[in-house]
Symmetry: D2
Subunit: 340 residues, 4 copies
C-alpha cells in the first residue's frame, strides 16, 4: 500500500528488457542511434505531425531545457503558483534560462484561471523595457492537483498568450494520465490546442528514467539551439540508445496508455471508496492517478496503522498516488482498513 | 574493428543484469535508496577515506557540477588547453559555475606543464579585483592524449594550486584506465596526491550511463550545495537506484579494473603492432585505452578499406580507442590489414 | 507641475558643484580615492556603526548587487508582489544572483503582511532539496505605495526571517523620505531593526546618479565578494570620485534630510488638498513623496488640461511624485486647478 | 609626473560644464532625453552611417553588454590573450553572456595574428554540438600594448570571422587615440572594415564616466535586446542626460580628437626621449597614449626618485600612460631626470 509517489515505483519489465536488447554491439552516441530515429518516427505518427525530439533523464531537466529554448533570459514565464517548475525544481527554470522570471498565477484545482491570466497579461505591457515581458505560458497537464485541462481549456489559454510573441509549454510529466481521462488524441491536447512544446514524461508511468522534449512545428526552428543547451547542461547522454529503447518499448502497442489507464482506474476506485465515508472530502476532481483528500484524523491514523503510505499535503489534505504497478488488492485493503 | 570511441561500446552484461535486479518493488527516490548507500560505502573502502558521493548521467554533467561546487562565478579554472572541459563540453563549466573563466594552459602530451602552471599563477595575482583569481586546477587523468599523470605529477601540481584558496578537480572519465596503468591505489592517485574532488566515470568503461562525483574530506562541506546544484540542473534522477545499481555491479569483484585492463592491453597491442611499421609515429605514450598515431596515407586507407573505424584527429594523427569489449581478433585483423 | 517621477528631476546644485570641485588633478581610481573614504566615515557616523560601502549608478544595480551578495543562486528572495525588484528591474535580481527565485508576497499598502510572510515560510521548508530555501527578505522603505515600515514593523519581519540562515535587504531608493516621516534614526530603521544590507539611494532625492550599498556588520564578511561582483558587473566606475563627491555633498549639513523633508511636505499638501474634494480617494497613507489617489474623471482631465503631469497607475489611481525641487507654487496651482 | 593610468586623470572642464548645463529642469529619464537624441545624431554624422546608441558608465559594462548582444551563451568569443575583456574584467563577458567561452589567441604587440586566428577557426568546427562555435571576434583598438590595427588589418580579420554567422566587436576604450594616429575616418576604422559593434570610450580621454555602445546597421536589429540587457544589468541610468551631456561636449568641435592628439604626442615624445638612452628598449610601436619600455634598473630608480609614477608591467617592462592633461613640462622633467 505504497501511495507515496509514482517515482518510487519500479519500471515496467518490458522497458528493462528493451534496455537489454538495445545493448547489442556498437551504436552511434549522443542521440544519433537508430532507436532514437525510430522513436521520433513513432511520435510523429502518434502526434500526427512533424516534430523534433530530444531525450532527458528527469522531468526537471526536460522542463528547464524546453523553457530555456522558448524564453529569453530577460523574459517571463507565466505558470500556476503550484506548478512543479515554480515549487519543486529548485530554480531550474531560472538557471537554464539564465535568469528568466517566473510569474505565479492563481486558479482553482491548480489550473490557471482565465481571470488570473488576463490580469497578469494586463499588468505586463509589451515593449516596456523595465519589466520582463511574458514569453511563455506553462501549463501542467495533469496539474499539480491531479486535474486535467481539456483541449478547449488549453486553447483558450494558448490563444491569449499567442497574442504576444510568446509560446505555450506543457509540463506533461503525467501527460498519459490526462490523455486517457480526457479521451482525446495526443494532437488534440497539444499542438491543435496551441501547445508549442511538450515535455512528455515516461518516468512516472513505467520507465526507469526517460523524458522526451517535443518541439512542434511552430518552434522546430529552435531545435539546434535546444541541442546546444542539452549538451551544455550535461543532458546529452553518451549512450542515448538506452533512453530511446525505453521509449520505444513504452510506446509499443499502446503500453503507455494501458499503464496510465491502470493507474487512473485505481485512483478513481480509491477516491470513490474513501469519499463514501463520513467526514471525507475529495479536494479536487480525480482526473489522473493522484487523489487529494481530506480525512478525519482517526481515519488517517487507521490507514497508517494498516500500512498505507501517503503524503500529508501542505493544505491539510492527504495525497495518494497510484501507479502502473498498483494492485487492485492494495486498493481493497486500503478501503477495508478505512471502513473498519 | 570499431575504434571510434568507448562511448559507442555497449554496456557490460553484468550491469544490465544489475538494473533488472534493482527493479524490484518500490525504492526511495532521488538517491535515498539502499543501493546508493551501499555504493557509497564501497567507495569509502576503495578510496580508503570518508567521502561524499553523487551520481550523474554524463561526464559533462559530472565535471560541470563538481567544478561549480568548487569555483565561484567570479573565479578561474586552470586546465589544459586540450581539456575536455574546455574543448568538448559546449561551455558547460561556464554555465554551471555562472560564468567562471577557464584558463587554458600548455604542456606536452596534454599534461599541464609546471612551467605553464607557474607562469599562469604568476600572471593571476590574488586579491586583485580586476582579474578572476585561480580557484580550481583541473587535471584530466587519463589526459586527452591518453597519457597518465603519476601520483607524484598530480602532487606537484596540486601543491602549487593549494598555495591559494583553491582546489584540485580530477576529470576521471577514464580514471580506471590510468589507475591500472600506473599500478597505484585509488587513494594514491587522488586525495593522497592532493585531489579534492574526483569525477569518476564508468560510462566509457562498461556502464550504460553512470558517473560518480566524489568529494574527498577537504571539500565534503560543499556536499549540500552540490546536491542543490544537482537538483537545480535536472541531474537528480528520480529513480536513482538504476544509476547506483550500475556502479554496484561495476565495482563488484574489481570488474571495473578488469575491464580497464582489457581495454588498455588492446591499446598497447594495437600501438605496438602499428609502431613497428615504416612511417608510423605514435604521438603520445600509450598509458590507457587511447592511441594517437600518425600513419602514412596509404596505410590509413588500407585500414579503412579493411573495415577499421577510427577518427582523424585535428593534429593530423589518427585516434584509436579500445574498450572493454574490444576483441583480440579485432586487433589481429587490424594489424594484419596494416601489414598487408 | 511635473509629478511624473523623482528621476526626471534635476540634481541639486550643491552636488553639481561638488563634482566640479572633485575634478582637481589625479585621484586613485575604482573607489580607492579620498572622497570615497570620507563618505564611508561619514556614513559610519550617521548609522552609528561600522559598515562597508560600495557605490552604484542605479537603484537596479544597487539592489541586484546587494541581493547577489546575500542570496545564493539556489535560494529564494521573499519580497512584496509590488516590489521594484520584482516588477520593475527586468529580472536584474535573477541575473545578478545567477537565477535565484523571487517569491512575491501580498500585503496592504505594499507592505508584506505578517500573515503572508508566515504562510510563505511555512510553505518553504529548510533543507528540502527540491525547493529554493528562503535566504533573503527584501523590504522596500518607502514601499511602492509610498508608505513606510516603522522600525517595529521592520523588526517583526526581520525576526521571522532570521530564524533561518537568511538576511534582510532594504531597498532604500526613497529611504530618506521614509526616515524623515518616521522621525527615527537611520540606525533604528536599519541594523537595529534587523536590516543586514541597505541600498541607500540618493538619485531620486537630488543626486545625478549615486546609490550606496551599505553592508552592516552582520554581513560585512561579504564585502570582498561584493566588490568582485561589482567589478564583474561593470559597476566599478573607474573615476569613482565623482560618485563619492555627490554623496559627500548630499550628506553634508543634513542636506539629504532637508531635501526629503521638502518633497514629503509637498506630497502631504498635495494629498491633503485633493482629498478634501468630492469623489477623491487617497489610496495609501502618504508617508513620503508619493501620492496615489483616485480622481473623478472630470477632475483628472481638468488637472491635465491645466498642465499637470502624472502617471495613471495600473490600479486605476493616479500617482503624483514630488521631489526636492517641487515648488509650493506648483502645489497651489494644482490645487487651484482641481478646485476650479 | 603621473603616468599610472588615464583613468586617474580628471575630466576635461568642458564636460563638467556640460553636466551643469544639463541640470536644468525636468528631463525624460532612462535615455529618452533630448541630449541623448542629439548625441545619436552627431554620431551618425561622425560615423557616416545609421547606427544605434546606448550609453554605459564603464568600459567593462560597455564591452560586456555589447558582447552579450552578439554572442549566445553557448557560443565563443575569440580575443587576444592580453585583451582587457579576458584579463581585466573579472569575467564580465562570461557573466553578461550567460557563460559564453572566451578563446584567447596569440599575436605580437597584442594584435591577433592571422595565423592564430586561422588555427583557432580550424579547430572550432561549425555545427559540432560538443564545442562552442565562434560567434564573435573581439579586437581592441588601441590594443593592450598601445598599438593600432589599421583598417586593412581589421578588415582581413573581419573577413575571416564573417565566413561564419559571427560578428566583430571592437573594444575602443582608446579608440580616439588609435584613430588620430592612423589618420583615417571613424567609418574606415569600423563598419567599412567590418566592425559590427563598437565600444567607444570617452572616460580615458576626458570624460567623468561615459562610454557609448554603437551598433552599426549589420547588428541594429539587436538594439531592443541590448536595451533589455542594459536595464537588466542596472546600466540604464535613470538620469541619462548626464552621460549624454558629457558625450555632447566631448564630440563638439572635435574636442575628443584634440585631446587624444595631445595625449598621443606626449607619449611619442616620452618614448622618443627615453629610447635615445643607453639600454632602453621600447617594446611596442607607440601608436597611441601608452608606452611600454624596458629600462635599466638604475634609470627606473632615478625616475621614481624624481617623482615619476608608472606601473611595472608583468613582462618586465614599464608602462607609461599619458592623457589629455599631461603637460609638456612633465615630459621634459621626466626626460631630464632620465638623462641626469
Amino acid at each position: 500500500m505504497n501511495f507515496l509517489s509514482d517515482t518510487t515505483a519500479p519500471a515496467h519489465p518490458a522497458l528493462i528488457e528493451a534496455i537489454g536488447a538495445a545493448n547489442a554491439g556498437f551504436a552511434a552516441s549522443y542521440g544519433a542511434d537508430e532507436i532514437s530515429s525510430r522513436v521520433e518516427a513513432r511520435l510523429k505518427t502518434i502526434f500526427e505531425t512533424d516534430l523534433k525530439l530530444l531525450f532527458a533523464v528527469s522531468g526537471t531537466a526536460s522542463n528547464a531545457l524546453a523553457l530555456s529554448a522558448l524564453c529569453p533570459a530577460h523574459g517571463a514565464i507565466l505558470c500556476h503558483d503550484e506548478a512543479h517548475i515554480h515549487r519543486d525544481e529548485r530554480g531550474a527554470p531560472e538557471f537554464f534560462t539564465g535568469g528568466a522570471k517566473l510569474i505565479p498565477l492563481a486558479g482553482a484545482h491548480a489550473k490557471i484561471s482565465l481571470e488570473a491570466l488576463d490580469r497578469a497579461l494586463g499588468e505586463i505591457p509589451e515593449g516596456f523595457v523595465h519589466s520582463s515581458p511574458a514569453r511563455v505560458l506553462s501549463l501542467s497537464n495533469l496539474t499539480e492537483s491531479g486535474t486535467a485541462y481539456t483541449p478547449a481549456e488549453v486553447a483558450e489559454r494558448a490563444d491569449r498568450i499567442h497574442q504576444r510573441p510568446a509560446f505555450v509549454h506543457m509540463d506533461g510529466a503525467r501527460f498519459s494520465n490526462a490523455l486517457v481521462t480526457l479521451g482525446c488524441t495526443p494532437a488534440e491536447l497539444t499542438w491543435k490546442a496551441g501547445v508549442d512544446a511538450l515535455c512528455f514524461g515516461a518516468t512516472k508511468n513505467g520507465a526507469l528514467s526517460a523524458e522526451a522534449i517535443i518541439l512542434f512545428p511552430s518552434v522546430m526552428d529552435r531545435f539546434e539551439e535546444l541541442q546546444a543547451r542539452q549538451k551544455r547542461a550535461g543532458h546529452m547522454a553518451p549512450k542515448m540508445r538506452f533512453l530511446a529503447a525505453q521509449f520505444e518499448a513504452w510506446l509499443k502497442d499502446d503500453l503507455w496508455l494501458d499503464l496510465a489507464g491502470t493507474a487512473n482506474a485505481h485512483a478513481r476506485a480509491l477516491a470513490g471508496g474513501l469519499d463514501a465515508l463520513d467526514g471525507v472530502e475529495v479536494m479536487h476532481p480525480v482526473q489522473g492517478n493522484e487523489v487529494f483528500i481530506r480525512l478525519p484524523e482517526a481515519l488517517g491514523d487507521r490507514l497508517v496503522a494498516a500500512g498505507a503510505r501517503f503524503y500529508q499535503w501542505p493544505d491539510g489534505s492527504c495525497r495518494f498516488v497510484t501507479s502502473w504497478c498498483t494492485q487492485a488488492s492494495e486498493i481493497s485493503a486500503l478501503l477495508d482498513a478505512a471502513r473498519a
